[in-house]
């Protein structure tokens, strides 16, 4: 994956693989500037993934911050066996799972109306896309992860398995079950069966 680096003045440039390797090498040695550039290049991707994994709501900024905190803290452990973006995806998935485990906080947030930018999502007055998002949000975490990674991040099944630490067959099974559940949910609330 090629990240996008925003330089002062709003100019956007692509961070090539070699540039990323150079930046990462400097970052591993504790170079704060190189770390800042890597964060700038990848924060959009991490934020978008987290936003989708938590169901298009929730405190994404905290998750992004925790992801890059883990990167900075464990920078010496990254051996370069995979692309930095893959590692970031794994970290983001793990952080979202961690957030999900803290269910009491999640429930507290749900109990506070209009507190988040995703507020109002549950009141989908005739909005079919909101119904779909709601149905995905209600899926178990394991199913939501494969849906997001496969259909929204456009990753092949093998990469999804690599990121989630499961075999491609398992990913396929989860995808099939997730689709089945989505079809059931969307059928119940009257989303066009033909579209499904």
């Amino acid at each position: 994956m090629t990240g996008t680096l925003v330089i002062t003045g709003g100019i956007r440039v692509d961070v090539t693989a070699s540039e990323e390797t150079r930046l990462w090498s400097a970052c591993a040695d504790g170079d704060a500037t190189a770390f800042a550039r890597l964060v700038t290049a990848h924060q959009g991707h991490v934020a978008r993934l987290a936003y989708r994994l938590v169901g298009w709501s929730g405190e994404v900024e905290d998750i992004v911050q925790d992801v890059f905190l883990a990167v900075w803290t464990h920078r010496a452990r990254f051996r370069g066996d995979c692309r930095l973006s893959t590692w970031l995806t794994v970290l983001t998935v793990n952080q979202c799972r961690k957030r999900h485990r803290m269910r009491w906080l999640w429930l507290l947030r749900q109990a506070t109306p209009d507190a988040e930018f995703g507020s109002g999502e549950h009141r989908h007055d005739g909005d079919a896309t909101a119904v779909v998002r709601d149905a995905i949000r209600q899926l178990p975490v394991a199913y939501r992860e494969v849906i997001v990674l496969r259909y929204l991040e456009d990753l092949p099944v093998e990469r999804v398995g690599e990121i989630l630490g499961v075999r491609p067959n398992t990913v396929n099974v989860r995808l099939m079950r997730a689709r089945q559940r989505l079809k059931e949910k969307l059928g119940h609330v009257g989303v066009d069966e033909g579209a499904i």
């Binding site: 770390f35 994404v60 779909v132 995905i136 499904i196």
Partner: protein, 201 residues
């Protein structure tokens, strides 16, 4: 992709919008947070070590906490938890100060332990000094035996009976226990016997 469900999911994602934009300076915030964590962890570990050293010292000295004052000149205070310091130089200085505190505390505990050991040795020596002389003890026992022998002789010869057997008994006491009060008494009795018998015994 012609999969209608996948298309529906993508449409739903696109309709949700990009989400709230992230605030600037994320990298700086991350590094500051990492620094705070490190500092908090270091302070916590140092405080725990100090606490353990203190409790260990008290436990070794066998005194309850609160009853003993660890005398150490210029006693350092426990480090205050200040998780907001962001400067690495200040953090380094803080760590150096805490390490210095640990060394001072350890030195104080070592000194106290040495003092306690010397006190225990002194008490042992004092006990050694207070123990009675074995020679004196033996002399006392000999005197006791001599008293018993004398008492036995007195019982047999006390009724005014003067005989050669009595004289022999008293002489035997004098010979066997010469340095005892019983020997003095026996000598006195022998003199009395010699006087009464006119020097014939």
């Amino acid at each position: 992709m012609s999969d209608p469900l996948a298309r529906l999911i993508r449409d739903a994602d696109a309709a949700a919008g990009p989400g709230r934009p992230l605030a600037d300076g994320l990298a700086d915030r991350v590094r500051r947070k990492a620094l705070r964590r490190t500092q908090t962890r270091t302070t916590g570990v140092t405080a725990s070590v100090l606490l353990l050293v203190g409790l260990g010292g008290w436990w070794l000295l066998g005194t309850a906490p609160g009853n003993t004052h660890v005398a150490s000149p210029g006693e350092p205070k426990l480090p205050a938890v200040t998780p907001t310091v962001a400067d690495p130089a200040e953090l380094r200085a803080e760590i150096d100060r805490l390490e210095s505190d640990i060394r001072t505390r350890e030195a104080a505990v070592d000194a106290l332990l040495a003092y306690e050991r010397s006190r225990a040795r002194l008490a042992e020596l004092q006990k050694e000094l207070d123990r009675p002389d074995p020679l004196e003890e033996l002399r006392g026992q000999i005197a006791g035996v001599a008293d018993v022998a004398l008492e036995s002789a007195e019982r047999r010869c006390g009724s005014g009976v003067v005989s050669t057997a009595c004289a022999a008994t008293y002489r035997r006491i004098v010979d066997l226990f010469p340095q005892t009060p019983a020997a003095d008494t026996a000598r006195q009795r022998l003199n009395e016997i010699e006087t009464s018998t006119g020097g014939v015994s």
